[in-house]
C-alpha cells in the first residue's frame, strides 16, 4: 500500500540475493567445522585435566606424598561407591538414601521458591509493606540460617520435616531478594506502555512484571537448589535416621575419608543433574534474551 514497505522489501531481497549461494554455504560450512573442532578440543582438554587430577591424586597416595588416611584415594573412593551400590549402606540401600535427601531438598526448594516469589512480588509491588517489613527482613537475612538446624530438629523431629524446613529457609531468602529486586527493576516505560495499550492489573502482572522479574528469579534458582541440598544435608548432620548427610556423618565418625568423598561425589552428581534441568528451564523461559547472556553458563 505504500512506498515504505516496497522499499524495505527491496532492501531485504537485495541483501539475500547478492552473495552467491556457494560462498554462503561455504562460509557456513567453514564456521561449523571450526566450531566443531573447537568443541572437540575443549572436551579433550577437559578429559585430560580430569585424568591428570585423579591420576596425580592416586599416584601421590601410592608414592606416599599424600596420606590416604586423611585425604582418601580415588581407587578407594571408587571401591566405596561400588560397595554402596552393591551391598547398600549401613542405613539401607544407597538409592533410598539418595531419594530421601533429594526429596527433602526438592520439597524445600519448591516451597522456598514459591514463598520467595510470592513475598518478593508482594513487597516489590507494595512500597508500604516493603518499608514496614524491610528492616526485619534484613535482620532475618543477616542471621546465619544454618544455625536454625538444631531448632528445627527439636521442633520438627528427626524426620524429613526438619530438613525441608531448613532448606525452605535457605532458599526463601535468595529467591525473595531476587524476586523483590526483579519487580523493583521493571522498566517504568514498559509498565506505562502496557497501561496505555489497555492492560488491567492482572495483565500488567502476568505480561510485564513477571516476565521482567523472571530474569532475576531464574538466576537465583541456580544457587538456590544447591542451598536446598545444603539445607537437607546439614539437617541430616544434626539428627536423622537416613539420607546422604547421615552417610557423610557416619563416614566422618569412623575416619573413613573415602566414604566422605564418595558421598560428596553423589551429592555433586545430584546437584549437577538439577543444574541441567534448571538451565533447560532457563533456556525455555528466557528465549527472548540475547543469546550471549545465557550461552556461556558454568
Amino acid at each position: 500500500m505504500n512506498g515504505l514497505s516496497n522499499l524495505l522489501e527491496q532492501g531485504q531481497s537485495d541483501g539475500a540475493a547478492n552473495p552467491t549461494q556457494e560462498t554462503d554455504s561455504a562460509i557456513l560450512a567453514a564456521l561449523t567445522r571450526r566450531r566443531r573442532r573447537r568443541r572437540w578440543l575443549i572436551n579433550a582438554l577437559r578429559l585430560l585435566l580430569l585424568v591428570l587430577l585423579i591420576g596425580g591424586w592416586e599416584l601421590g597416595t601410592r608414592l606416599g606424598l599424600i596420606d590416604p588416611f586423611f585425604w582418601g584415594r580415588p581407587s578407594g573412593i571408587w571401591q566405596q561407591l561400588v560397595t554402596w551400590v552393591v551391598h547398600g549402606t549401613a542405613q539401607g540401600p544407597l538409592w533410598v538414601q539418595i531419594a530421601v535427601t533429594l526429596e527433602e531438598a526438592l520439597l524445600g526448594f519448591l516451597i522456598g521458591v514459591v514463598l520467595g516469589i510470592s513475598f518478593g512480588v508482594l513487597l516489590g509491588r507494595n512500597t508500604f509493606l516493603a518499608e514496614l517489613l524491610g528492616p526485619y527482613i534484613k535482620a532475618a537475612n543477616s542471621i546465619p540460617r544454618v544455625t536454625l538446624a538444631p531448632l528445627f530438629a527439636i521442633g520438627l523431629g528427626l524426620g524429613s520435616q526438619s530438613k525441608i524446613a531448613l532448606a525452605v529457609v535457605l532458599v526463601f531468602f535468595i529467591v525473595f531478594f531476587n524476586a523483590f529486586q526483579g519487580v523493583r527493576e521493571v522498566d517504568r516505560n514498559l509498565l506505562a506502555n502496557a497501561r496505555i495499550l489497555g492492560a488491567n492489573r492482572w495483565q500488567l502482572f502476568r505480561e510485564v512484571i513477571l516476565p521482567s522479574a523472571l530474569t532475576w528469579i531464574i538466576a537465583s534458582l541456580h544457587t538456590s537448589f544447591s542451598f536446598a541440598l545444603v539445607g537437607a544435608v546439614v539437617g541430616e548432620f544434626v539428627g536423622s535416621i537416613e539420607g546422604i548427610g547421615l552417610m557423610i556423618q557416619n563416614a566422618g565418625a569412623t575416619f573413613n575419608a573415602n566414604g566422605v568423598f564418595a558421598a560428596m561425589l553423589i551429592l555433586a552428581a545430584v546437584a549437577l543433574l538439577s543444574e541441567i534441568v534448571i538451565t533447560a528451564l532457563e533456556r525455555r523461559l528466557l528465549r527472548w534474551r540475547p543469546t550471549a547472556l545465557s550461552e556461556v553458563t558454568l
Binding site: L4, D187, I196, A199, E207, R287
Partner: protein, 297 residues
C-alpha cells in the same frame, strides 16, 4: 486527502492570543469542543535533593478534533511531561487536563502513546508485541493476530513476526512501537519524538506514512519533536514552548496545503517563511536552555 476535514483549533485561551498568531482568521472554523484541553497546568517534581522542580508552569493548550499539533521546545523543557499528563500517567500539580471534555483520571483507551524511549516488550516477539493492545482489550486471539499481521506488513516488517526486539534494529523497533499503537486505532495520538532515532530516508518515508495513517484514522495528534522542519512539515499548528518551566511561547498555524509530501514541502517558499518566523521564537529558548546547561556543568 481530506484537507477540508482538518480543523484548526479555535479556542486558544486569551493569554495565548498575544502570542504570534499568523493564521488568516477566515480559516478558523466555528467553535467545537476541543479533544484535548490543558488549563493553566503546572507540574512540579520532587527532586532527589528534597526540593521541588517546576517542569510546567501555567501551560494552556487546546487541540481540536482531527488536528495535528506539534510541540517544540528546547531539551528538558517539559514536552514529555506534558504528554504524560494528557495520557493520564501522571497528574498535574495545579490546573486541569481535559480529554474529550472530561477531566483525566488514569489512562484512557482512546489514547495511543508512542514513547520517546524504547517501550516494546523485550520478551515478546514482533507479532505478540503488536497484538498486545487488542489482546489486553479482550479481542479474540485469532482476530488480534490477524490484525497484528496486517499492521506489521503495513509498517514494512513483514517476515519479521518471529523476531524478538533485541534482534531488530533501532528503526525497526520504532516501527514495531508505531504498529503497536496504531492497531488500537486511537482517537488521540501522542507521539514523543517518534522518528528521532531513524535515518533521514526512513524518517521521510515514515513521516509521509504517518500523515496517511492520520488522515485514515482521523485522529487528533500531539507530536513532540526537536526538529522544527519536521514540525512544520507535519502539523496544522506548531506550539513553541519556553525553556523549562515550560509554558506556551507562541502558536503558529501552518497553512500549507494538504496532502503534503514531506520530502518536497521543505522547498515551498511559504515553508521557508514559516521556518524563519518560528525559528526567531525558538532560538531564544534554545539559547536560554543551552546557557543553563553550560552553567550547571
Amino acid at each position: 486527502m481530506q484537507d477540508s476535514q482538518r480543523k484548526i483549533s479555535p479556542s486558544l485561551s486569551p493569554a495565548l492570543h498575544s502570542a504570534a498568531q499568523e493564521a488568516p482568521s477566515d480559516r478558523l472554523p466555528k467553535e467545537s469542543t476541543p479533544v484535548i484541553e490543558l488549563r493553566r497546568v503546572t507540574k512540579r517534581f520532587l527532586t532527589p535533593g528534597g526540593q521541588t522542580y517546576t517542569a510546567l508552569r501555567d501551560l494552556s493548550l487546546t487541540v481540536a478534533p482531527g488536528e495535528f499539533c506539534a510541540l517544540i521546545g528546547p531539551t528538558g523543557c517539559g514536552k514529555s511531561t506534558t504528554l504524560s499528563l494528557i495520557a493520564g500517567l501522571d497528574t498535574p500539580s495545579a490546573g486541569s487536563v481535559l480529554v474529550m471534555g472530561e477531566e483525566v483520571h488514569g489512562t484512557d483507551p482512546r489514547i495511543g502513546y508512542v514513547f520517546q524511549t524504547d517501550a516494546v516488550f523485550p520478551w515478546k516477539n514482533v507479532l505478540s508485541n503488536v497484538a498486545a493492545g487488542p489482546l489486553f482489550r479482550g479481542v479474540p486471539k485469532r482476530e488480534a493476530l490477524e490484525r497484528a499481521r496486517a499492521w506489521i506488513a503495513r509498517v514494512g516488517l513483514a517476515g519479521f513476526e518471529d523476531r524478538y526486539p533485541h534482534q531488530l534494529s533501532g528503526g525497526m523497533r520504532k516501527r514495531v512501537a508505531l504498529a503497536q499503537t496504531f492497531i488500537n486505532e486511537p482517537q488521540i495520538l501522542l507521539m514523543d519524538e517518534p522518528f528521532s532515532a531513524l535515518d533521514v530516508q526512513t524518517r521521510t518515508l515514515m513521516e509521509n506514512e504517518l500523515l496517511q495513517l492520520w488522515s485514515a484514522l482521523s485522529a487528533s495528534v500531539v507530536f513532540v519533536t526537536h526538529d522544527l522542519e519536521e514540525a512544520i512539515a507535519l502539523a496544522d499548528r506548531v506550539c513553541v514552548l519556553t525553556a523549562g518551566p515550560a509554558t506556551v511561547k507562541g502558536i503558529y498555524t501552518i497553512d500549507l496545503p494538504r496532502p503534503r509530501n514531506v520530502a518536497e514541502i521543505r522547498f515551498d517558499p511559504r515553508f521557508v517563511q514559516l521556518y524563519h518566523d518560528i525559528w526567531e521564537d525558538l532560538r531564544d529558548e534554545v539559547m536560554i536552555s543551552y546557557e543553563r546547561a553550560k552553567q550547571s556543568s
